[in-house]
């Protein structure tokens, strides 16, 4: 177990190194010039060159990357070009909001997805199953900004049940979390349905029924833990998809998280912030997958981490 954890952590560090290099390279070859953004349109060529020199952007790409990496391993993510603050403090201020939104999103997608999947599997081939599967198909296909705007219009503008935007109370969380979770819930309900149908065919389900257990107990205690196993690995991967989702959802709902921060930084070519948000997201994805893998043996005793 200790050996496994050690190897996984080394692996994770290598993945993050790779991500940092590729992102840095992409930003370097980007035609947009961050110095022009900082200096403004009216700046003289001399001013532009001064700023470039000052930020070290006149150096070769590998030298710049080396400097960034040296800072990163010491916990220094650099300073924002435009906001003149430490990137780490900018991210730290906004990360809790994004984590809350993600947690809400995961809760929504699991709650809706797993319930739909289980019910559909039980009523397999009947109208209820077909109805749920059509619904999930719509959920998978609908773009998040459309879902967000629809929910906003219906529940905030027309019905006034929830606030239109902002951050602070549980009511503020509901619509953004729902928007974030709906697409995933479609995937999960389809996966859960097929996983559940597969498990219900297994010999041990017949054994459980032959013991005289109630239908409810057979489903919840014998089928569910087995059916949910493939889903857990999915949740780890999902965090990556969510990172893309929160950029959209945070913009639609004015949610003050790192998605918004990233969105603004991309528009202004604020490279340290883009790098910082990318690294934090990548770390979250790597961590999410690691946690998913560490949790699995607790549900499936056949799996041993080595």
């Amino acid at each position: 177990m200790a050996g496994y954890l050690f190897r996984r952590l080394v692996q994770s560090a290598l993945i993050l190194l790779g991500v940092s290099f590729i992102t840095f390279l992409l930003l370097y070859v980007l035609p947009a010039d961050p110095v022009r953004q900082i200096a403004g349109r009216s700046a003289t060529a001399q001013t532009v060159e001064n700023i470039r020199e000052q930020l070290g952007l006149d150096q070769p790409m590998l030298v710049q990357y080396g400097r960034y990496l040296t800072g990163l391993v010491q916990g220094d993510m650099g300073r924002s070009y435009l906001q003149k603050t430490e990137v780490s403090s900018l991210i730290a201020a906004r990360l809790p909001a994004s984590l809350l939104l993600m947690a809400g999103g995961i809760a929504c997608e699991l709650l809706i997805g797993l319930t739909f999947g289980i019910v559909a599997a039980i009523y397999r081939g009947r109208p209820l199953d077909q109805g749920l599967m059509v619904t999930s198909f719509v959920a998978v296909s609908a773009p998040q900004f459309v879902v967000g705007l629809l929910l906003l219009y219906l529940f905030a503008v027309r019905l006034g049940w929830f606030p239109i935007g902002g951050y602070g109370t549980f009511a503020h969380l509901v619509l953004p979390a729902l928007t974030l979770g709906i697409m995933g819930s479609g995937w999960y309900s389809r996966m859960m349905r097929s996983s559940m149908i597969d498990v219900l065919r297994q010999d041990y389900i017949r054994t459980a029924r032959a013991k005289g257990l109630s239908r409810r107990r057979v489903l919840l205690r014998h089928a569910l833990p087995n059916a949910i196993l493939p889903i857990i690995a999915m949740i780890g991967i999902d965090i990556g998809i969510f990172m893309g989702g929160i950029v959209v959802v945070e913009s639609v709902f004015g949610w003050p998280g790192i998605g918004q921060l990233a969105w603004q930084a991309i528009q202004r070519v604020d490279i340290p912030i883009i790098m910082g948000v990318t690294m934090v997201s990548a770390a979250a994805i790597v961590l999410g997958n690691l946690i998913a893998d560490l949790v699995t043996p607790f549900i499936d005793p056949r799996i041993k981490l080595r």
Binding site: Y204, T207, R302
Partner: protein
């Protein structure tokens, strides 16, 4: 119930009302609006403490009958007429709410596949206590105590420790014992055992059958034993119902049915059962010595590394094959027998070049490990395989004609027309007709599919065909015909076989020479007459002794009980097992020295 009177229980209890009374039971499947019967007009009685075998080949409706009694039929299958009264209660007519409390309490069931019949994510203890708590309102502690008692009753060593274990930590035989413990925990009046030993090794089958018999004497439970194995019927049952295609062919006391089968189907079925000792009637084959062997293994080894330490290096090693040497001569059928995990299939894979090996393996005089990719492809033409499950071995999206012609295509033999003609010829040879070539595997029966696999193996005119449990999944009557086909092909084409099987009776009927394997090593080797006529190694003796004999008159013979736990071929790295030395006790009969 008078325990001592068990073998002749029927007449003694004949006056009493039967425990289970099945009359004109018809079970039908609804399929796209049509209703088709799977079981028709089945009637039988079962008395307390009695064992009734329902015997038949696949598709005879025996498993459906048991599921109907349990109320566990699939959604589109239902009892359409007749009744099955257990102590006066018509089971199929009960609504689910009233049937559920009876399941596990009055009627219990054990299934064929112990490997998959227990839930992998719950402990043995949880699954056992649950079976008890479903029917009794007692505390968890009491349920636990009862669970331990139930495990002890099926003679599982250290029952308390087992409670905390998960199914994957137990062997197949142990799992089947757990299933039996679970089924008998509530002391049901009726136990339905659906092929309870079919998936087990023969020595384990022996233990489980003995256990069932002992438990029946203790508890007086009536047993319905569903099986395809007439040996098991003869050894375990008092009465038998023979079924075919959903109908009862014949029923009666086991002694009578075996001695004087009334119906021709029963006679054919009994005649097709491979029997130990039957092979001796055949003339002893003369092995053509002094020729280049088709295949030769000298000190062959196959190892798999397992586990990982802190740096990801393996810590254990599976000694799947450990220093095995034998020759297969041209035109010879060489048998390899042993129980699961003994390494017999791994030898087949090593011969076919599918796993890496150490030591020396030679095919047609060429050493496998020295071959280039081109040479290896050439050697593939000489060795072909026929596997256990023909459905899994045929691509469902390829017509069977394409499947048979494919080896020719891979090796670039002939034109398309020539390949087609060769495939047609092969179809003809294995007893199918060429016009069936455009059909797909699912349109054939199991026996026909295995014939197709044999035809495919023959396509390249190989020198050696490896049959890895090739007839094990087939019904006995089909099995007999496929075996006859293999023999004919040997006569006709001079092809050799490596015949791998766990079924001693089948092996005795077909092989010329054989090797008995145990934990990756050969413990005994010789001609069929040497090994079967004069088994010397204790393991060989135990294997032969465990085979159920389809003769009820020989019921109740004493058996050699195995001693201690099974040793494992998995050992720590750097600790190889001791190499067994084989000693020639005369005329090439090799026996491993006892350690």
């Amino acid at each position: 119930m008078i325990v001592g009177a068990k073998p002749i229980a029927a007449p003694l209890s004949g006056a009493a009302t039967p425990l289970l009374c099945v009359r004109d039971l018809t079970v039908s499947v609804r399929d796209r609006g049509t209703v088709r019967p799977l079981v028709s007009d089945l009637s039988f009685d079962l008395h307390a403490g009695e064992t009734l075998a329902i015997a038949g080949e696949s598709g005879s409706g025996k498993s459906i009958t048991s599921l109907a009694l349990m109320g566990l039929l699939p959604n589109n299958v239902a009892v359409t007429s007749g009744h099955a009264d257990l102590e006066g209660i018509d089971l199929p007519a009960l609504p689910e709410a009233q049937m559920r409390p009876l399941r596990g309490a009055k009627v219990a069931m054990i299934f064929q596949e112990p490997m998959t019949s227990l839930n992998p994510v719950h402990t043995i203890g949880a699954q056992l206590s649950e079976a008890i708590l479903a029917h009794e309102t007692i505390s968890r502690r009491d349920a636990r105590a009862k669970a331990i008692e139930a495990l002890a009753r099926v003679r599982i060593p250290e029952p308390e420790r087992r409670l905390k274990q998960y199914p994957h930590e137990l062997s197949g035989g142990m799992r089947q014992r757990v299933m039996i413990a679970m089924a008998l925990a509530m002391r049901p009046a009726l136990l339905i055992a659906d092929e309870p030993t079919t998936a087990l090794d023969v020595t384990v089958q022996r233990e489980v059958l003995d256990l069932l018999r002992d438990l029946q004497q203790e508890t007086g439970t009536a047993i319905i034993l569903i099986t395809h194995d007439m040996g098991v019927v003869a050894e375990c049952a008092d009465r038998v119902v023979v079924m075919k295609s959903g109908r009862m062919v014949e029923s009666g006391k086991v002694l009578d049915v075996f001695a004087r089968p009334a119906k021709s189907y029963t006679r054919d079925l009994l005649a097709a059962v491979p029997r130990l000792g039957a092979g001796a009637k055949r003339g002893a084959p003369q092995p053509p010595a002094a020729q280049v062997p088709v295949a030769r293994l000298v000190n062959a080894k196959v190892h798999f590394d397992l586990g990982a330490n802190f740096l990801g290096r393996p810590t254990h090693r599976v000694h799947a094959v450990e220093g095995v040497s034998f020759d297969i001569r041209p035109g010879e059928i060489f048998g390899l027998v042993g129980e699961s995990g003994c390494g017999k299939s791994t030898i087949a894979k090593a011969l076919a070049g599918l796993v890496r090996h150490d030591g020396h393996i030679e095919v047609s005089g060429q050493q496998l490990s020295s071959l280039t990719a081109q040479g290896r492809k050439q050697i593939c033409r000489d060795i072909q395989m026929v596997f256990q499950d023909p459905m899994a071995a045929l691509d469902p999206r390829m017509t069977v004609g394409e499947a048979v012609a494919e080896p020719l295509l891979i090796h670039g033999v002939g034109t398309a027309a020539e390949r087609h003609a060769r495939a047609a010829e092969l179809f003809d040879r294995v007893g199918l007709t060429p016009h069936q070539m455009s059909r797909y595997p699912h349109e054939f029966s199991g026996g026909q599919r295995q014939r197709i696999c044999v035809a495919r193996a023959l396509a390249l005119k190989p020198k050696l065909i490896i049959c890895d449990e090739s007839v094990s999944a087939l019904d006995v009557s089909v099995q007999a015909r496929v075996l006859a086909l293999l023999e004919e092909l040997r006569e006709e084409m001079g092809v050799s076989y490596l015949f791998i099987s766990h079924d001693m009776a089948v092996v005795e009927n077909i092989v010329d020479r054989l090797a008995v394997m145990y934990l990756g090593q050969i413990v005994e080797m010789g001609t069929r007459d040497q090994v079967f006529g004069d088994p010397r190694h204790p393991y060989t003796q135990r294997l032969l002794d465990a085979v159920p004999i389809p003769d009820p008159a020989r019921k109740g013979r004493p058996h050699i009980r195995p001693a201690g736990a099974q040793p494992s071929p998995i050992r720590p790295l750097g600790d190889p097992p001791a190499q067994l030395a084989l000693r020639d006790i005369g005329a090439g009969h090799l026996v491993a020295a006892l350690s």
